[in-house]
């Protein structure tokens, strides 16, 4: 009773600013202060964006700091490589430190082909809005035959969360060199390290071959030196280390996983991933690993690899397969399979409502969408042009297709 009286007595002009501040979000300012991160809605973990907004949505908001994302490469490693570059580019834009390891291309070469950020951020959301607007007058004028459906939410095939997190990128351009230069980057190029490590470790019996152990040691050295492991009291502000490891398990890493069914170093990659997991858990870092899984013949081994990662997705591109010309898949460039989602500090993981996902590379942007079939068109309708077909495919996915009839010339 006392509290309302007190507030009644006060002049309203005083109360208004009070009210606006009283609903401040309780947050641990120390963690949130890192740019490019935010706490997860689900379990409070600090998450970072993968650089692809729709991928963030699919894996439950983003990558939790201290976890590992496994990307199973598509056959030509084109889209998985693109996802890796997105991940690194997002790090550059957010001011995170990078660590790139590769056995094939020099890390500097990978960094030079990062996609350019769209920093004004208006282009991409606007297209969605436009699309929504174009639908709006139509639905107002439309006859109310399907009145039962009018309260149903609009079906959006492109996946995105309500609030923006991460940036959009233009894959047709590369990032400016000045932005690239500004980022702190550590590279690990295997041919430069392979000679140095052979002698001291040759005698010791280790489950890992020297390539992986030298990578692990190098990574630990960087994490320790730059203070990501929190063991060193820090004076400067905290930052995130983004680790990108390209094509682990391929023959270039000295691994014969891909060559034989019973590889001689069958535990090398899993042991490395176990060590990497241990390292990530105790530091402010997040890693993306790509593995050419289609080359690994032993499926059980691939299962073990997946289990040691936190999030696992697989890309299967249509390029080179007969699905490329299949009319069912004409809107997409490949399928995306979410193999595993992490259980972090809670019993349930963020379960998606739909696991049939496909990706496509638009002119400038990589997106992930729910896979849906184009509407079954009868013979009479099949003569309409392809542009209209995609239009019907976009709107007609709600099942009734009533909204799409407006822009046709003939309704009957």
């Amino acid at each position: 009773m006392a509290a309302p009286k007190m507030s009644m007595g006060k002049p309203t002009a005083d109360r208004l600013p009070c009210n606006t501040t009283s609903f401040q979000k309780k947050s641990r300012s120390k963690l949130v202060s890192i740019p490019g991160t935010r706490p997860s809605i689900q379990n409070g973990q600090l998450i970072v964006s993968t650089g692809v907004t729709s991928l963030d949505y699919v894996i439950g908001g983003g990558l939790a700091v201290g976890t590992l994302l496994l990307i199973e490469e598509d056959r030509y490693d084109s889209y998985s490589r693109m996802l890796l570059k997105y991940f690194l580019a997002e790090g550059v834009v957010c001011g995170h430190e990078l660590y790139v390891a590769s056995a094939l291309d020099h890390p500097n070469d990978i960094l030079q082909e990062l996609p350019a950020p769209i920093l004004d951020d208006i282009a991409s959301p606007k297209t969605v809005e436009d699309q929504a607007k174009s639908c709006d007058p139509e639905s107002q004028d439309a006859m109310k035959i399907a009145w039962r459906y009018q309260h149903l939410p609009k079906v959006q095939t492109a996946l995105a969360s309500s609030s923006r997190f991460g940036h959009y990128y233009d894959v047709s351009k590369t990032m400016d060199t000045e932005i690239c230069q500004a980022a702190r980057c550590h590279g690990f190029y295997l041919p430069e390290h392979s000679t140095a490590v052979t002698s001291p470790t040759a005698t010791r019996q280790s489950p890992m071959p020297e390539t992986y152990s030298s990578l692990l040691n190098n990574l630990q050295e960087v994490i320790h030196r730059e203070g990501f492991d929190g063991s060193v009291p820090q004076t400067k502000s905290r930052n995130i280390l983004r680790i990108g490891l390209h094509s682990l398990g391929s023959a270039l890493w000295g691994d014969d996983l891909c060559c034989r069914e019973n590889p001689s170093h069958g535990h090398a990659l899993t042991t490395f991933l176990y060590g990497l997991r241990a390292m990530l858990r105790s530091s402010l870092s997040v890693a993306v690993v790509t593995v050419p899984s289609h080359l690994i013949q032993n499926r059980a081994l691939m299962g073990n690899i997946t289990r040691l990662c936190d999030t696992a997705i697989a890309l299967e591109s249509f390029r080179g397969s007969e699905r490329e010309t299949n009319p069912l898949y004409k809107d997409y460039h490949g399928l995306l399979d979410v193999r595993q989602l992490p259980y972090l500090n809670c019993l349930v993981c963020d379960l998606p409502d739909n696991k049939d996902l496909a990706f496509k590379l638009k002119r400038k942007q990589f997106t992930i969408e729910r896979l849906h079939l184009p509407p079954d068109l009868s013979e009479t309708v099949s003569r309409v042009s392809r542009g209209e077909l995609t239009g019907t495919a976009m709107v007609g996915s709600s099942g009734c297709g009533s909204g799409s009839t407006g822009n046709r010339h003939l309704d009957f």
């Binding site: 379990n43 001291p200 470790t201 010791r204 019996q205 280790s206 489950p207 890992m208 152990s213 692990l216 040691n217 630990q220 019973n262 535990h267 899993t270 042991t271 176990y274 060590g275 997991r277 241990a278 390292m279 858990r281 105790s282 499926r299 059980a300 299962g303 073990n304 997946t306 289990r307 040691l308 259980y343 972090l344 500090n345 809670c346 019993l347 349930v348 993981c349 379960l351 409502d353 696991k355």
Partner: protein
């Protein structure tokens, strides 16, 4: 601790059967929620718990146990819980420069062919110490989160089975405690599984254990409202009780899990 699972298994923290070896296995899904159940169950029962957490960090288990109403940090301080954090211990061993650091428990990382002797010694010292020390805790309990991860680290199936056999002899038979192990199985049935590591480990452990909880994803595919099915199998005991099997479907919630008969999900009724 999930009350529904307790009624299915006919146990409670006040009265549970001593000397049990419970095997939890999963395939195409994640059964770690059962490990969290048993962890909070035995901590509530006042047992001395030895937990080998090989795949996650202590803070992960602690955060979940907090939701289930048990504080791991307190239990650890009181001496009720002994927690081996595999990830933390192994990092020093895997990095070459610090070969001397780390406990003997993760010796298998230095030389996988030597087996899990160090890990067993760790378990034995902790559970024996609990009984001899005159502490107020009940019978010892050993929990292993994911024994199959040692296969990924190069340990042979035989060594892993030896480890579980030794542990069973010490914990279940000698000290009348209990044991819960989780193994994960990734094999597909259609492939020949003769040289399959995790499949062989699973078969060997089923042979040893007294109760199995086999968790699987739904055979018909992914579903949002039913996370999978669990097959509970009691081994026949000496009193001529037959081997008994029951199949349930389950759904994991934020703070627990619900179990129901097949087709009886609240989402479809």
């Amino acid at each position: 601790m999930f009350a529904e699972l307790n009624s299915i298994l006919n146990t409670s923290p006040d009265s549970f059967k001593p000397g049990e070896f419970i095997l939890v296995s999963d395939k195409h899904t994640d059964a770690s929620f059962l490990i969290h159940h048993f962890l909070s169950f035995y901590l509530r029962a006042g047992c001395k718990v030895c937990f080998l957490g090989l795949v996650q960090s202590f803070s992960h288990y602690s955060a979940i146990s907090q939701r289930l109403g048990v504080s791991l940090t307190q239990a650890r301080e009181k001496g009720q819980l002994v927690f081996l954090e595999g990830l933390k211990e192994s990092l020093g061993v895997l990095l070459q420069g610090e070969a001397s650091k780390g406990t003997r428990a993760v010796d298998f990382l230095r030389d996988p062919s030597s087996g899990l002797r160090g890990l067993y010694d760790f378990v034995r010292d902790n559970v024996r110490g609990a009984v001899g020390g005159g502490e107020e805790w009940g019978p010892p309990v050993l929990l292993v989160d994911d024994l199959s991860v040692v296969l990924s680290l190069g340990v042979s199936v035989g060594a892993a089975l030896d480890f579980s056999h030794y542990c069973r002899a010490t914990v279940c038979s000698e000290l009348q405690g209990s044991m819960v192990m989780l193994v994960r199985c990734e094999a597909e049935e259609e492939e020949e599984s003769d040289d399959e590591g995790s499949e062989r480990l699973l078969r060997g452990l089923i042979h040893q254990c007294s109760l199995t909880l086999q968790v699987q994803g739904l055979p018909t595919g992914y579903c949002r409202d039913i996370h999978g099915q669990v097959e509970v199998c009691w081994r026949g005991q000496c009193d001529r009780q037959q081997t008994q099997k029951k199949l349930f479907q389950y759904k994991v919630h934020d703070k627990g899990a619900s179990f129901f008969a097949r087709g009886m999900s609240s989402a479809v009724l």
